[in-house]
């Protein structure tokens, strides 16, 4: 009897400590994340009054407006196009580099340092430099190649140019994750297959790719979500007056413009809800794909 009392006292004390320890985080999450998420959904059904004051409930009017506006669909498509460049190229190049750096070569740490460098730079600065490299008249690219390409103002090219900046920025990050994934593959697999006469490229496709697939999937998933919420690059590179704006601005850029430049919070909230719904859909699809594509040893 006495023992069980003591036990429950200990359990009670543990519960008190537990709740006290999680209280700041949980409270913060409710105030800073959960309430705002609900509030954003609510605001997406409201019209923001002049000077951002007063919300009037307008039902689905914002959604009707958003779905009938060409720029919304444009921006969603632009975001997808960006992801279609950044994710596959960023992942494949990083994988190749990671495999090379995982071999016992001299000087790998220097290469690793260089490839990772863009990760510690502010995207605002990175985008500024690329914008200057792309400059049609004075830029390095056109002057070196003696070309006259409007890298960032030709609507047919600009989205690719921005995708290239994205790939450049993210290679190092993907590479570091790949290297740590590669180091978990036991060396015996390679030794055994070498004895069987398998060469580097066959080993890559038959050992590295399947055994690395959980890492690859994790990277693809994080990068897809990251790419779908891209903002900084477009915002810094594509001015409001750029004629390629319609063909490059991402959905988050459009959201920023409406919510904070134009002060139309209700419509901005609508755009962000559409974005989140879209990302949730993509996440569910990727989770389904994971079961089929990822090799579980």
């Amino acid at each position: 009897m006495k023992a069980s009392n003591k036990l429950s006292a200990a359990a009670k004390s543990e519960a008190r400590w537990g709740w006290a320890f999680i209280a700041p985080t949980m409270l913060g999450l409710f105030v800073l994340n959960f309430y705002p998420a609900i509030n954003t959904v609510y605001q997406s059904f409201c019209k923001t009054g002049d000077f951002g004051r007063g919300n009037t409930f307008v039902g689905l009017a914002n959604y009707a407006a958003a779905f009938s506006a060409g720029e919304t669909w444009h921006s969603i498509w632009n975001t997808i196009k960006y992801a279609l460049i950044e994710v596959p190229f960023g992942v494949c190049i990083a994988l190749v580099l990671a495999v090379f750096l995982n071999k016992k070569l001299k000087g790998t740490s220097v290469y690793r340092t260089i490839f990772f460098l863009p990760m510690v730079c502010a995207p605002a600065a990175v985008a500024m430099v690329w914008k200057w490299l792309y400059n049609q008249q004075f830029g390095l690219l056109n002057n070196i190649f003696h070309s006259n390409v409007a890298w960032i103002s030709d609507p047919h090219i600009a989205w690719i140019s921005i995708g290239v900046i994205g790939v450049w920025s993210v290679i190092g990050y993907n590479m570091v994750l790949f290297i740590s994934g590669l180091q978990e593959i036991p060396g015996d697999y390679y030794e055994a297959s070498s004895i069987d006469g398998a060469t580097g490229i066959r080993q890559f496709f038959h050992i590295t790719v399947p055994l690395l697939s959980p890492t690859t999937f994790f990277i693809v998933q994080t990068r897809v979500i990251g790419a779908l919420t891209v903002f900084d690059l477009m915002f810094m590179v594509i001015d409001k007056t750029n004629i390629a704006l319609q063909n490059t601005q991402s959905i988050v850029y459009l959201f920023y413009t409406y919510a904070f430049t134009n002060g139309n919070k209700g419509y901005g909230a609508t755009l962000v809800v559409i974005l989140v719904a879209f990302i949730m859909l993509v996440t569910v699809i990727m989770q389904q794909a994971e079961k089929k594509l990822v090799y579980h040893a």
Partner: protein, 280 residues
């Protein structure tokens, strides 16, 4: 055997060539940023002849000019303070919550932890409008507190630290419990010091995230004397976009502190990103 060795050597050469070409491509933007920063504007926009290197000497004084005229000292100070408070807040709240989730048993724990996972799945853009309205109502626009505001707690960090605490052996704590330490003492004296590497990962992740963030400082700190390096650059580009050496000098000044820190703590940076795998 001889041909196998030769083949191996050829493979090595091919790998080095590819690595070197990639490294060159990665470095070109940095090199061009610095080379432009030390030119005069006439040189920067000269096409015929096109100058790769500065023609009239290296104008390092451009950096000093930019430093003074754009109040970089204030941008540095604001960025540093924001990073400092965000790292302290994130580490403090996450280590406590991580310990509770990872090592203690109490009713409601699983429900609360599922909320942490839910938060990690929601894209953060959905929080921004209400967070901005709160900061605005609290009168924190254009303050350091406003910059720190959304980073006071971290679901991701809690998850990271929980994993760290779960990985620690059980007997450590049991021995301390027998010695009569209560949960708070066990946490402070025994468990927390052992999760140092997770804390460093979280600290680096938080610092990098805050340093790179552009939208939040642009929204809450619209004045050039209250904003951060990232948002300050965006402002400068809007105002002086065609003075290329000035722009490039500012870009160099904005990224150099983090690059220096990265060079010193390279191992921790790489490990931190590899183990946390957070979305930057």
């Amino acid at each position: 055997m001889e041909s196998a060795r030769q083949k191996d050597r050829i493979n090595r050469v091919i790998m080095y060539v590819i690595l070197t070409i990639m490294a060159f491509i990665m470095l070109v933007p940095f090199a061009w940023m610095i080379l432009t920063a030390v030119k005069t504007n006439q040189e920067a926009i000269s096409v015929n002849p096109f100058y790769i290197f500065p023609h009239s000497g290296w104008h390092w004084e451009n950096f000093a000019k930019v430093w003074k005229s754009y109040n970089f000292i204030i941008l540095y100070k604001n960025t540093l303070l924001m990073i400092f408070f965000r790292v302290v807040c994130a580490c403090l709240t996450a280590t406590m919550a991580g310990y509770a989730f990872g090592r203690l048993n109490f009713k409601g724990k699983n429900l609360m932890f599922s909320l942490i996972l839910v938060q990690m799945m929601i894209p953060s853009q959905i929080f921004i409008i209400p967070q901005y309205l709160m900061v605005s109502k609290l009168g924190l626009l254009n303050t350091i507190s406003g910059l720190v505001f959304p980073g006071i707690v971290t679901a991701f960090g809690t998850y990271l630290l929980k994993t760290g605490y779960q990985g620690l052996p059980k007997d450590l704590e049991e021995a301390a419990a027998i010695d009569g330490c209560n949960i708070g003492q066990r946490f402070l004296k025994i468990m927390m010091p052992l999760t140092r590497s997770s804390m460093v990962s979280l600290g680096i992740f938080t610092a990098l995230f805050a340093f790179k963030d552009l939208m939040w400082p642009m929204i809450v700190c619209t004045k050039s004397e209250t904003t951060t390096l990232s948002a300050g650059l965006a402002k400068m580009q809007g105002q002086y976009g065609s003075d290329y050496p000035t722009m490039m000098a500012s870009a160099v000044l904005a990224i150099i502190p983090m690059i220096v820190i990265y060079m010193i703590f390279q191992k921790q940076f790489v490990e931190g990103i590899a183990t946390s795998g957070g979305k930057l």
